[in-house]
Amino acid sequence: MHKIEADVQLSLLEENRKYAGENREFLREHGVVAFNLMGATGSGKTMLIEKTADLVSDKLKIGAILGDVAGDDDFKRVTKHGVKAKMVNTGKECHLDAHFIHHAVEEFADVDVLFMENVGNLVCPVDFDLGEDYRVVVVSVTEGDDVIRKHPEIFRLADAILINKISLADAVGCDVDIMLRDARRLNAKAPVIKMDLKNDIGVENWLEWFFDAVERAKKYKSV
């Protein structure tokens, strides 16, 4: 036996990039605008899909791929709001990746907007491009006002940051201005929208950005 050395350049993210590219191309061909929805468990990601579907269903057909460790709770919730949905259970994996949802994406050629609801956490989903047009991060005041600076990458790379449950801020001792300041320090371009989804606060600001984002993305898609 003798020793050999192989000098290589193999990116561990290359496989994901390849599938993300294929997902993106499929969505472009079919004129589907995709949003990668990220945030902690309970932050309000599923409710954002429900509320958006209720308010835009006369104009846009909404689809959703729902990533969760187990169960079909989110599937049951969003389908009641007319959303075409597909549940994907990730088991031990703490994020969606482009390969994992590759076949699921192909079932959504007939929608205008596809939400890819990621597994609930602010850490793992950030490094895995799914082929989306936009990254939306939902964070709630109940996660503490230091949550944004504790998770800088996901907020730095977001296209929109939604701070949810603002009506509960005083009750949980959260200073929303600190969250706004931290978001701005990390990300100068993303809108930071204060919301209370359950009570329809801030929804109009979200919809304004959402419709604009859909329009912008549609311009470079074929349909």
Binding site: I4, E5, A6, D7, Q9, R185, L186, A188
Partner: protein
């Protein structure tokens, strides 16, 4: 764990291509903005490589820092920051990839 799994799969693929009987050492560059903990990656790699020809191989992790710089005044930062004191937009380059650079094997 998914990075460790992908690392092992790539290492084993190269080892197979080269007809290796044993993997001795792997050098991997990890961008610091991936925020992977080197100790955890090493531990996970040990776990997933058990029972393969890469079992007990040494894992050398080289941390790669991003270039974080103000696009107007050129001031450099240690951590990502959106806007510089001068009002310029701060750009972040690199630090987001994980790349295997070297694999030592016995054939």
């Amino acid at each position: 764990m998914s990075f460790a799994q992908s690392l092992l799969e790539n290492v084993l693929r190269v080892a197979e291509e080269k007809g290796a009987k044993k993997v001795k050492r792997v050098v991997v560059e990890i961008g610091t903005l991936l925020m992977l903990n080197p100790e955890q990656l090493t531990f996970c790699y040990e776990v997933v490589s058990k029972g393969t020809i890469a079992e007990n191989s040494e894992l050398n992790i080289v941390e790669i820092k991003p270039k974080i710089r103000c696009s107007v005044c050129g001031k450099e930062f240690d951590a990502p920051f959106a806007i510089c004191d001068c009002g310029g937009v701060v750009t972040v380059e690199g630090g987001k990839d994980a790349v295997i650079r070297k694999i030592e094997m016995e054939v």
